[in-house]
Symmetry: C5
């Protein structure tokens, strides 16, 4: 998974089947020093994450399994809102 910060939202009207009623957030992956790490990822959110919050993002086919019944054509999902993390390097 990636550690990321929610930085915004995306809206679409014309979309593929399965993408209806999906909340899509723009996230900035971070390293454990909270520095930017890699490219922006658009992720499905079902946890109610808000702008500024730290989240965990799962990528690839596993993301799709978050929306169990529907299997929307997504490749990234927020799977947790981060309470805290600790690093000892």
């Amino acid at each position: 998974m990636l550690l990321a910060r929610v930085i915004g939202s995306v809206w679409t009207t014309q979309k593929e089947k399965g993408m209806e009623n999906i909340k899509l957030l723009i996230t900035q992956p971070l390293n454990a020093k909270r520095e930017h790490q890699g490219n922006h990822v658009i992720a499905m959110d079902r946890l109610g994450a808000g702008v500024g919050e730290l989240v965990l993002i799962t990528q690839g086919l596993a993301a799709q399994k978050v929306a169990e019944e529907k299997r929307p054509p997504i490749d990234a999902a927020i799977v947790g809102i981060v309470d805290s993390f600790e690093v000892n390097e």
Copy 2:
């Protein structure tokens, strides 16, 4: 998903089974500042996206599921045409 701008089209005559009648667009992934972010991606389009439009791209096996019945051997598909996005960093 990736945010990307449609920048062109690709045509093939000799192709693998399942690739017939698939519209393929060339896209430039962007970050939320609309700056180039990573390499060009060739994506299947079934939404009628045009050059210059912002789109959302799903990569990997989930992309294939967009073409439900046929499962073409693709690894990227446009899953939404972006109306707007908002960033608060």
Copy 3:
């Protein structure tokens, strides 16, 4: 998918089950300006692509589905030979 140019061939004698009689080409991914974009990819070819030709490459598990009956342990396949492409940036 990636746009790429075929630049060579690879031969193996000792190989895993399912890799027999598979033609493997070395390809250089390109952007839409025909500049090098990313690392060399070794891809299965069933279309008869030749050195110098532009091709489309699918990566990941979808590549495997090109060889329908056999499912060789590959992660990249040529799915089309490019006739032309057009970019309006």
Copy 4:
């Protein structure tokens, strides 16, 4: 797989179904010279790996199969704690 060093832990309260009772570690991928190689990866751990230990990380859908019965929506898992490695370059 990636060679990585465990550098910390992440805790979440709000999480997707299937993420309950999963231990998540922050890891720094390394090359065979023990130099940093690529971005931090958050991985599921079921082996009891501790901070400072070298581990092997599997990414993608195969990671999910580590938790056989549950299939949590993860994309990275620790599959081994490294005893030693040897390089002859």
Copy 5:
């Protein structure tokens, strides 16, 4: 697939189910000029590849299919030992 050179071995005692009796090699991906290309990959080997040999590596879920009966939680496998390759750029 990636072209890579075998540069070493990794040993683990504590490991996930399915990782028993799997030979793990450290490989350095190369481009067709035999220059380093990307990060070290730890790959399963069932072909008896030795240090210094050139190999082809499959990544992702297809790698897992190399070990047909067992499906270990791996994401990279050696699928061929390279006899020769030819580039005409």
